[in-house]
């Protein structure tokens, strides 16, 4: 029909343009180096905190890989999740690009929905040294189920809480909070004069949904139930009330926190005038040691008992953190898949995993390597948090859902700043988020 012809013509023009453009951008993606050796293209996130160390690590891996296989590694880095997504999109459309991708855990469902990555069967896991090699919880977001996994756990960045040991001691608090109610109580005790009990990054574009999801899943609502969104739900509502309440009702957070991103909250905590900072990772250690809290801070697990309860309900999950970190994915268009699996095996083996921890502070997903870190008292809670990490729902709609959960916070900031937000206001924002999330789930394939 007419529209068909038009479609074909436009599509052809588009395909030509894309081929030309991608050919120009992609450079030498075709593998096959000189001297009979091959080149493996690997895409990983740029480590802005330890750039030099990252380069050293890359070099040592490349050297080892060359010695082992004779092939070279060509590294490509991305600066943000958006860059990464763009790279995936162009590679998916053109069928050329990196052979191996390191992809953030929460982005893995999105990558899975493009169907452009190798599904790991028994044979592939065998090549990697078996599933048992990994910390069991780290496999939680490798695929929708055990038969359809695409992600090989590489490194973990579980979320933890950090507290000011001196301030807690001075307030007579013997050990850090393990329930959200206890945390609120401690924060109230710690708030006096120019001190605040809790630092929270309300304006961060990634933090807020992690609190909401955590409290909600602990109360037995995983937010996504099959094809149904459960945002307009009492458990979620209670989570938002608690999260906002720290500022509006309990007044245990600096009012300026309505403008803070995560790094600003770290900086505020590092000044030594805040009792707890509720959402951070082991990577913050460097910033903390550079501040006034040097030698006075410790990591601890985030509470795992939902707000308003002293014990977790029967259907509640002991989620200490979202399952956070990077997975390694092998592109199904890759002509070097064997080589790619050898590479993935190399960087997930114990030696390389301890090396990346030593150089970059990234936690090993390799079980044996993780075990050796448990002896470090400062790191113990972080390794513990990794074990108790729970995967966010594995659906292509998740990106939209976390956006909707965050948006409810973004739009509430003026109310937070004015000092009050009613439950009805929260529920109306949750109704909007529910609608977005459900429509996104309806589209999920």
């Amino acid at each position: 029909m007419g529209s068909r012809t038009l479609r074909a013509v436009v599509a052809l023009a588009g395909a030509t343009a894309l081929t030309v453009a991608l050919g120009a951008c992609g450079g030498d993606d075709d593998g096959g180096g000189s001297g009979g050796g091959k080149t493996l293209n690997v895409l990983i996130g740029a480590n802005t905190q330890y750039p030099q160390e990252q380069q050293d690590w890359q070099k040592s891996v490349s050297d080892k890989f060359k010695a082992q296989t004779g092939a070279d590694v060509k590294w490509e880095t991305f600066a943000s999740a958006n860059d990464e997504l763009t790279k995936i999109q162009t590679s998916v459309v053109s069928g050329t690009g990196p052979d191996v991708y390191a992809i953030g855990t929460t982005l893995t469902p999105t990558a899975y929905s493009t169907r452009a990555f190798v599904t790991l069967g028994d044979e592939e896991w065998q090549k990697l040294g078996g599933k048992d090699k990994f910390v069991p919880s780290s496999l939680g977001i490798s695929g929708p189920d055990a038969e359809n996994q695409i992600g090989v756990p590489w490194v973990g960045r579980p979320f933890v809480m950090v507290y000011n040991t001196e301030m807690l001691k001075a307030a007579g608090i013997a050990k850090p909070a393990t329930t959200w109610d206890e945390l609120t109580q401690h924060a109230k005790q710690l708030t006096k004069g120019d001190q605040y009990g809790l630092a929270v990054a309300y304006k961060d574009n990634f933090d807020p949904w992690k609190f909401i999801w955590g409290m909600s899943v602990q109360a037995g609502n995983p937010i996504v139930d099959g094809k149904t969104a459960r945002i307009a739900d009492p458990a979620v509502s209670k989570a938002y009330q608690t999260y906002f309440g720290w500022l509006t009702k309990d007044k245990v957070v600096d009012p300026a926190a309505v403008g803070w991103t995560n790094s600003q909250a770290v900086a505020a905590f590092a000044k030594g005038k805040t009792g707890y900072f509720a959402l951070t990772s082991a990577l913050a250690a460097k910033s903390l040691d550079a501040g006034a809290v040097k030698g006075k801070w410790a990591f601890t697990l985030l509470p795992t008992v939902p707000p308003g309860a002293t014990t977790r309900p029967a259907n509640g999950v002991e989620a200490a953190s979202i399952l956070s970190g990077d997975n390694l994915l092998v592109a199904d268009y890759s002509k070097n898949q064997d080589l790619a699996f050898q590479f993935v095996k190399l960087i997930t083996d114990q030696e390389a995993q301890l090396d990346i921890y030593a150089k970059l502070g990234q936690l090993p997903a390799n079980a044996a390597a993780a075990q050796t870190l448990l002896s470090d008292p400062r790191l113990g809670p972080v390794v513990e948090a990794q074990k108790k990490s729970v995967a966010t729902p594995f659906t292509g709609a998740w990106a939209d859902i976390q956006l909707a959960l965050t948006n409810a916070v973004v739009q509430s900031i003026p109310d937070l700043s004015s000092g009050s937000i009613s439950d009805a206001q929260i529920d109306s924002r949750l109704a909007a988020a529910q609608k977005t999330a459900q429509s996104s789930l309806d589209r999920a394939k």
């Binding site: 023009a13 588009g14 997504l85 999105t110 304006k203 574009n205 403008g259 003026p414 999920a444």
Partner: protein
């Protein structure tokens, strides 16, 4: 006719040949004439040949992607269909219908109103600055250089600095508190709309200033002398004599500035982050979030197409204005 003149001028390195090519008298030997005519034809076509590299590049970089965007706006392209995008279901105008249901009109309103207000506010600032730096005085060069600072700073830097200053506990609120005023929130809620306008004005007024200055400098010294002889006071002189000279360039600047404001993505993105507060969810932000966070490429292409149509309106006015200018110039000289 105008086209011929333009052509003649463009191919100005061989004026004799061009003139001879048109000469109806034909006093030269026939063989020579034939040779001239051939050369004349190629010379007349030379601008077209010269346009080929640019034209090809524009087709590749703008034309084809534009066609592609139109096509994508008609298909259901998202993360699930991306891999086999040629087989993505054709859904006609459904994306457009959904775009209008999902806040596009709200974003259009914010984008247009913000752009118009920013443009209207920058005109008096720019013109006043141009007038102030028109006459020579000590330190004028320095003042002119300072005026250009906001214009040469990258948008990202401008937005980052303002974002830092406008934090709830930032320098702006600290200063206001010292003066006994409660600063409140600048980067969230209804006031974020005015923050966006304020920062845009700060960054964009030098463009109007530059264009106005160019207009002022085209005023002949005789005009100044004549109005001095006629005893015109500064205000009537400015209003009746000088400003009419500036009108053309400033109107053009208004159009271009409005387009720039509508298209500005960096400023709202860096100032407010994504997702943005509803009050500053301008069209580029909406398209960005739909495309790169929700991964609805079809829907965002439909939004981009609507955005293009919107921009095409002032663009059309602009193109007409440019054509008129050429006519005037052509007629005058």
């Amino acid at each position: 006719m105008t086209d011929d003149r333009t052509t003649t001028r463009t191919a100005g390195d061989a004026p004799v040949a061009t003139a001879a090519g048109r000469d109806p008298a034909g006093r030269e030997p026939p063989a020579d004439r034939a040779g001239r005519r051939r050369r004349g034809v190629t010379e007349r076509q030379r601008p077209l040949w010269l346009l080929i590299p640019g034209g090809t590049l524009m087709t590749l970089v703008i034309g084809i992607p534009l066609l592609l965007a139109f096509y994508i706006s008609l298909i259901d392209l998202d993360q699930y269909t991306l891999r086999r995008w040629l087989e993505a279901p054709f859904i006609g105008l459904d994306n457009f219908a959904e775009a209008f249901e999902s806040g596009l009109l709200h974003s259009v309103w914010i984008s247009v109103s913000f752009s118009v207000i920013a443009t209207v506010a920058t005109v008096p600032l720019g013109v006043a600055a141009a007038v102030v730096t028109q006459n020579a005085y000590r330190g004028r060069g320095w003042v002119r250089a300072v005026f250009l600072i906001p214009y040469v700073l990258p948008s990202f830097v401008v937005a980052s600095v303002w974002r830092t200053m406008l934090q709830p506990d930032g320098i702006v609120n600290a200063t206001l508190t010292r003066a006994g005023v409660d600063g409140g929130l600048w980067l969230s809620g209804p006031r974020s709309y005015w923050t966006l306008i304020l920062v845009e004005i700060w960054a964009a007024w030098p463009f109007i200033y530059l264009m106005a200055l160019a207009g002022l400098q085209s005023v002949d010294s005789e005009v100044h002398e004549a109005s001095a002889i006629d005893g015109a006071d500064w205000w009537p002189k400015l209003r009746r004599v000088i400003l009419p000279y500036v009108r053309g360039p400033v109107l053009l600047a208004c159009l271009l500035a409005t387009l720039n404001h509508i298209n500005n993505f960096t400023l709202p993105y860096v100032l407010f982050g994504a997702p943005a507060p509803d009050d500053v969810n301008v069209m580029p932000m909406l398209v960005y979030v739909t495309s790169f966070q929700s991964l609805r490429f079809g829907l965002s292409a439909a939004m981009a197409v609507v955005s293009l149509v919107l921009i095409a309106i002032p663009l059309f006015v602009y193109l007409r204005a440019v054509r008129l200018d050429v006519h005037e110039e052509g007629g005058r000289k």
